[in-house]
């Protein structure tokens, strides 16, 4: 099994936490992993992305070639579109529908969402609202991760364990609400897939 994943968002939205959870779950299965991150200047409210590659075989490049990503996982819809050149023909785009508008020329949100809907295989969800219901809007990234779960090709339990491990330092309450967020995202994806 091999998955090439582009994670996208705006600095501070928690894409590295998504990477940490998937990465931990992958390592637990004895998989190889490479993950290229963005640090420094771009983190100041700019666009951020990460290349996450997991595989049962050894991985060569830290960067995913264009047209080869199995998944784009985005916590912001405009950012989900920025990395389309990486998406493979049968790849999935999973994105939050909630815009992060810290730029004056942010395009019309309906046009942005229409552009996402034009992608053959996409999943668009209001992660903020679902995260709030789970206990904190801060868990929107984990809702998105949950919605990506059916496409990751790994047991859901492994992801749950990884969430427990990654958030355990922050206390039981944070672990619980993130597990709720993860499940909410997963259920959304399952219902969507059935329809």
């Amino acid at each position: 099994m091999k998955k090439d994943i582009i994670l996208a968002g705006v600095g501070g939205q928690g894409i590295l936490s998504i990477a940490a959870v998937i990465g931990y779950a992958a390592l637990e299965q004895g998989m190889f992993l490479k993950q290229a991150e963005v640090h420094g200047m771009s983190q100041r409210g700019g666009d951020v992305m990460s290349h996450l590659r997991i595989s049962h075989d050894e991985i060569s490049s830290d960067l995913i070639p264009f047209g080869k990503a199995d998944l784009i996982i985005a916590v912001e819809p405009l950012e989900s579109l920025r990395y389309l050149p990486y998406l493979s023909r049968d790849g999935w785009l999973i994105s939050s529908s909630r815009p992060f508008t810290n730029i004056p020329n942010y395009p019309d949100i309906e046009e942005v969402l229409d552009a996402v809907r034009a992608i053959p295989q996409h999943l668009l969800l209001d992660a903020d609202t679902m995260a709030k219901e789970a206990g904190s809007v801060k868990a929107a990234n984990i809702v998105i991760l949950g919605a990506s779960a059916p496409f990751l090709g790994m047991d859901f339990e492994l992801l749950e364990n990884a969430v427990r491990f990654i958030f355990t330092k922050k206390g039981e309450r944070v672990v619980d609400l993130n597990l709720k967020a993860l499940n909410a995202g997963k259920e959304f994806a399952e219902i969507h897939q059935r329809n």
């Binding site: 705006v10 600095g11 990465g23 390592l27 190889f32 992993l33 490479k34 993950q35 290229a36 991150e37 963005v38 640090h39 420094g40 200047m41 771009s42 983190q43 100041r44 409210g45 700019g46 666009d47 991985i59 060569s60 490049s61 830290d62 960067l63 995913i64 070639p65 264009f66 047209g67 080869k68 990503a69 405009l78 950012e79 579109l81 920025r82 389309l84 050149p85 990486y86 998406l87 493979s88 023909r89 790849g91 810290n102 730029i103 004056p104 020329n105 942010y106 395009p107 019309d108 046009e111 942005v112 552009a115 992608i119 206390g171």
Partner: protein
């Protein structure tokens, strides 16, 4: 030992700790910062007295590490590529003095300029200094090279340059550790004149370095990091440096390249291996991140010898970071591409955080300068450089650490009065102080704003050497007390701030204005850390 997941930077730090490091010296700079931070957070380093406090700039870092090496212990110096410019004097001369305890200089290049003002290639500095250079292709090699590098350094008593790039520094992968080696016991160099570069001694030391060069080539030929992998199709040979090897292999998923491949991870180039490739193959494709250093070397200026392909003949783009697709095109393979980016996608440049003190400073500065012709504000390297962008458009230069003050002085010399410099607290202690002294000596009519946010913000909030010292430094250098003005940059102080600026802009001498308010990201981090300590303290 089990695999642990480490950034390239962290692999280097862990490698250093395990190879018997006694001190790490650095000034923060993306993408090198995390090396030192890893050592700072290491419990082992704390328990074993391994030095890891930030240096004031890269030059002091390099010199301090050289001092530790003189005393017989293993030291590492880390910096971003442009930091090596600052450290160039001690760096070049350290090849002549040589080392005593193992000494590794890590320079992190930034091809494609993700967070930098240029994409200079540190390997040129290594070649210039005649130092061995190590360039890892993955995180495991980065880890292993530190151990190897210290051994090489102590075998020839020579500092070793380790060159990485952003992609190596900030990419995570599994690393297997080795056993931990003890630190060196302090011991003096066997010749107490080794480090005395008086011309008569320097000439001898330089000859010694030159005489070692053939040995360095032999070491490269025998190095575990240089490998000749034969191939059946000799129409072309592929010479790949560092990370380029991974991009090549990405194009051959079964792991077999039909052409001979020379994987380079140690310089000077392994001569016999390059000769073999030149003899056996019709032409050579050179793939290297950064400048076409190896390519130029093999091609020669007139290009009348070997047939060499690479960045110079357009097979690979002349600038920017490599990736697997660039290799696919260079190898004549089919390029891959997903979907086009929709036209509506606009850029999202980095910006000053909401609540950032610099916003208030630029608000006041722009108002105070509104009556004067535009284009008189010289700035520097830090978060405040974002003041060049909309909506502030408040600054007109960003060149190198400390250049704001000296450029303002030069502009004032040319008649641009008043000229303004905007510099951060940490950048000021890094390289601004000497420039300020120049302006004071000549009583130049410049107004210097030292934006004091009590941290080194852009690189993630490291300690600032200026903390609690700014006024004393300025006074000590000779700024008149009446013209050192401190203000808290807040909306409610806007009018006072503008008035101070107007008064000091009118003064025909050096003024220093210190807008002082802590970086909001730093406050947030401090509060979270405090909360964490509180939580762990309560059972």
């Amino acid at each position: 030992m089990p695999k642990i997941l480490l950034l390239g930077d962290e692999a280097i730090a862990q490698g250093a700790l395990d190879a018997g490091l006694s001190g790490i010296y650095a000034y923060p700079g993306t993408p090198s910062t995390e090396i030192t931070e890893f050592v700072q957070k290491s419990k082992y380093a704390g328990e074993n007295g391994i030095h890891s406090q930030w240096s004031v700039n890269e030059k002091t870092a390099m010199e301090t590490a050289l001092g530790m090496s003189y005393a017989g212990k293993r030291a590492m110096v880390c910096m971003k590529h442009v930091g090596l410019n600052v450290a160039a004097d001690p760096f070049i001369n350290s090849a002549i003095t040589g080392a005593n305890g193992g000494l590794i200089v890590v320079s992190a290049d930034d091809p494609s300029m993700h967070s930098s003002q240029n994409e200079q290639d540190s390997r040129f500095f290594g070649k210039f200094a005649l130092m061995p250079i190590l360039e890892p292709s993955n995180q495991q090699e980065a880890y292993d090279m530190v151990h190897y590098g210290f051994d090489l350094s102590e075998k020839y008593l020579i500092p070793v340059l380790m060159r990485i790039t952003t992609r190596m520094a900030h990419s995570r992968a599994g690393v297997v550790r080795r056993d931990v080696r003890k630190q060196n016991v302090a011991h003096l160099p066997s010749d107490l004149r080794q480090f005395v570069l008086l011309p008569a001694i320097a000439r001898k030391r330089y000859k010694h370095l030159l005489n070692n060069h053939p040995h360095f080539i032999t070491e490269s030929e025998e190095s575990p990091f240089n490998e000749y992998i034969d191939g059946t199709d000799k129409s072309i040979g592929i010479l790949v440096c560092g990370l380029a090897y991974n991009y090549l292999m990405e194009n051959y998923p079964d792991g077999t390249v039909p052409f001979p491949v020379l994987k380079v991870g140690q310089y000077p180039l392994p001569k016999s291996m390059v000769e073999r490739m030149a003899d056996e193959c019709d032409e050579i494709l050179v793939v290297e991140d950064g400048y076409p250093m190896v390519e130029e070397l093999l091609k020669g200026y007139l290009g009348r010898g070997l047939k060499i392909k690479g960045r110079l003949d357009g097979t690979i783009p002349r600038d920017g970071e490599l990736n697997p697709n660039i290799l696919a095109v260079a190898l004549g393979k089919e390029n891959t591409f997903g979907l086009p980016i929709p036209d509506l996608v606009v850029g999202r440049p980095p910006m000053l955080c909401s609540g950032c003190p610099h916003i208030d400073s630029y608000g006041a500065l722009n108002q105070a300068l509104s009556i004067l012709p535009k284009g008189r504000v010289f700035s520097d390297i830090g978060c405040y450089t974002l003041g060049a962008l909309h909506p502030y458009e408040a600054i007109n230069s960003c060149v190198d650490m400390g250049a704001s003050i000296t450029m303002a002085k030069g502009a004032a010399d040319a008649g641009m009065i008043p000229a303004v410099a905007v510099i951060g607290d940490s950048t000021f202690t890094h390289s601004g102080m000497t420039g300020l002294l120049v302006a004071i000596i000549e009583k130049s009519p410049i107004t210097v704003l030292i934006l004091d946010n009590a941290t080194t913000a852009m690189t993630g909030g490291q300690t600032s050497a200026a903390m609690g010292r700014l006024e004393d430094i300025c006074k000590g250098l000779g700024v008149e007390e009446d013209h050192i003005r401190v203000i808290r940059p807040l909306k409610k102080h806007h009018d006072d701030f503008v008035q101070i600026l107007e008064e000091e802009l009118a003064y025909q001498g050096v003024s220093v204005i210190i807008p002082r308010r802590e970086c909001i990201v730093a406050i947030d981090k401090r509060m979270r850390d405090k909360f964490k300590t509180k939580q762990t303290a309560t059972p």
